[in-house]
């Protein structure tokens, strides 16, 4: 059986595990170097989802409760591509986020901002044949965290993607343009390459914006591409 491995990204375009300015990494990041694992069948396979896993309304976070959530309604859409520009079809995208006040509907979040009974802040969808996904949600608020004195996270939406393999699994965060907290946020600044950091910022998109209803943002996501040459397994 001939199989094709996935290419490794330039290390400067991904965060290191240990980043002192993000304090939680110091007791959780491995201290020994990772062992480079040439891909086998175990790494080039991964969970493949079907339509049975995703409900029709799961991509509209504003319609999961009897009433409408408070805040600025937004549409977040984009394409999931591999590093060769091929769309990833039928691929699971999961998101989660804080509400408009910067509070998560989570028992561990004790930020003194109101919960919204009409907003949970979780959604999922499958990409279409062009690799496109789309969510309707509320613009999340910034919130304080205790990483350092007067620390605030920029507004963000968490994204989880599977792609086609264990090797393409990605969890990341999408940020909003013009956020003054972005350049002083240790989580985003953990990525050494400036362009790679800035690619986590969505673009405001008037073409996605719907008149009298919601602002639109575009956020494309790139997962790893395959090596050109197969190997024997």
């Amino acid at each position: 059986m001939n199989i094709r491995a996935y290419r490794r990204p330039d290390p400067n375009t991904q965060p290191r595990y240990l980043y002192q300015a993000y304090r939680s990494t110091t007791r959780r990041a491995p201290t020994k170097p990772l062992i480079v694992l040439p891909h086998t069948l175990s790494e080039i396979t991964g969970p493949v989802y079907g339509h049975e896993d995703v409900g029709e309304m799961d991509n509209d976070l504003t319609r999961q409760h009897p009433g409408e959530p408070l805040g600025e309604r937004i549409i977040v859409t984009g394409r999931v591509l591999d590093a060769d520009g091929h769309p990833l079809r039928n691929s699971l995208v999961e998101i989660w986020q804080a509400n408009a006040a910067g509070r998560y509907a989570h028992h561990n979040d004790d930020h003194a901002a109101p919960l919204d009974p009409n907003f949970t802040g979780a959604g999922r969808t499958l990409t279409d044949p062009d690799g496109r996904y789309s969510f309707v949600t509320i613009k999340p608020g910034a919130y304080p965290w205790r990483n350092h004195e007067n620390a605030w996270r920029p507004a963000h939406i968490h994204f989880s993607l599977f792609g086609t393999a264990l090797a393409t699994r990605l969890v990341t965060q999408m940020y909003f343009p013009g956020d003054p907290l972005f350049p002083i946020d240790p989580v985003s600044q953990s990525i050494p390459d400036q362009k790679a950091r800035e690619r986590l910022i969505a673009n405001f998109d008037l073409a996605t914006t719907q008149p009298e209803w919601a602002l639109g943002y575009r956020f494309d996501i790139v997962l790893r591409g395959r090596e050109a040459t197969p190997f024997e397994a």
């Binding site: 059986m1 375009t13 990041a29 694992l37 080039i44 969970p47 060769d84 968490h158 989880s160 985003s188």
Partner: protein, 190 residues
């Protein structure tokens, strides 16, 4: 066209909202699964040896015959039709989660090698800017000696990849993952 893969970011402390509140899978076997049933208890500890209580663990494994449910597993004999091979759980306050599964079969490695039975494990948590990926092998399995991936690991650290049998509960295995510090688990750059 070559594009740069999107950077990873931490899943943060509220990851359950998106990953496990609706998407938990602990029972990986149906009524009719083929193979040796196993109960796998995974513990996650930090650099102080304290439980990591806010992690999510994902498991990916082959079926009892060593087949992956995936279009790139091109071998003519297919996978157990009831098998998916994916599990995902949040750990509890003790840093523990339990998967009910079958012992995977052996999967081909590179060249003419055959890998020993193993689970591919990914860990997501606050403080991890990227997921950590490791493997769990079954202590005492003879095929471990010929496993081509274990052979990449310095001999003194291979033990960190071995689940230990719980002798008071046949079929139960315990796997401790130490994120950093003493007896740090081996993690892989996949």
């Amino acid at each position: 066209m070559k594009l740069v893969p999107t950077a990873s970011q931490t899943a943060g402390p509220f990851l359950h909202l998106g990953l496990t509140d609706k998407g938990s899978v602990g029972g990986m076997v149906g009524q009719t699964a083929i193979g040796e049933l196993v109960r796998i208890r995974i513990y996650i500890l930090d650099g102080d040896g304290a439980p990591v209580s806010d992690a999510v663990v994902e498991v990916w494994q082959a079926d009892a015959q060593g087949r992956y449910r995936h279009p790139d597993d091109l071998r003519p004999t297919g996978c157990d039709p009831t098998w998916r091979g994916f599990g995902r759980l949040a750990v509890d306050q003790q840093g523990c989660c339990v998967f009910e599964s079958v012992k995977p079969g052996r999967v081909p490695g590179r060249g003419n090698t055959v890998q020993a039975p193993h689970l591919n494990i990914s860990i997501f948590a606050r403080g991890l800017l990227k997921q950590l990926v490791t493997r769990m092998y079954f202590a005492g399995d003879e095929s471990n000696l010929a496993d081509p991936v274990l052979a990449l690991v310095p001999e003194g650290r291979r033990e960190t990849l071995m689940a230990q049998p719980d002798n008071s509960h046949p079929g139960s295995w315990c796997f401790e993952i130490r994120l950093c510090g003493e007896n740090e688990t081996v993690f892989f750059d996949v």
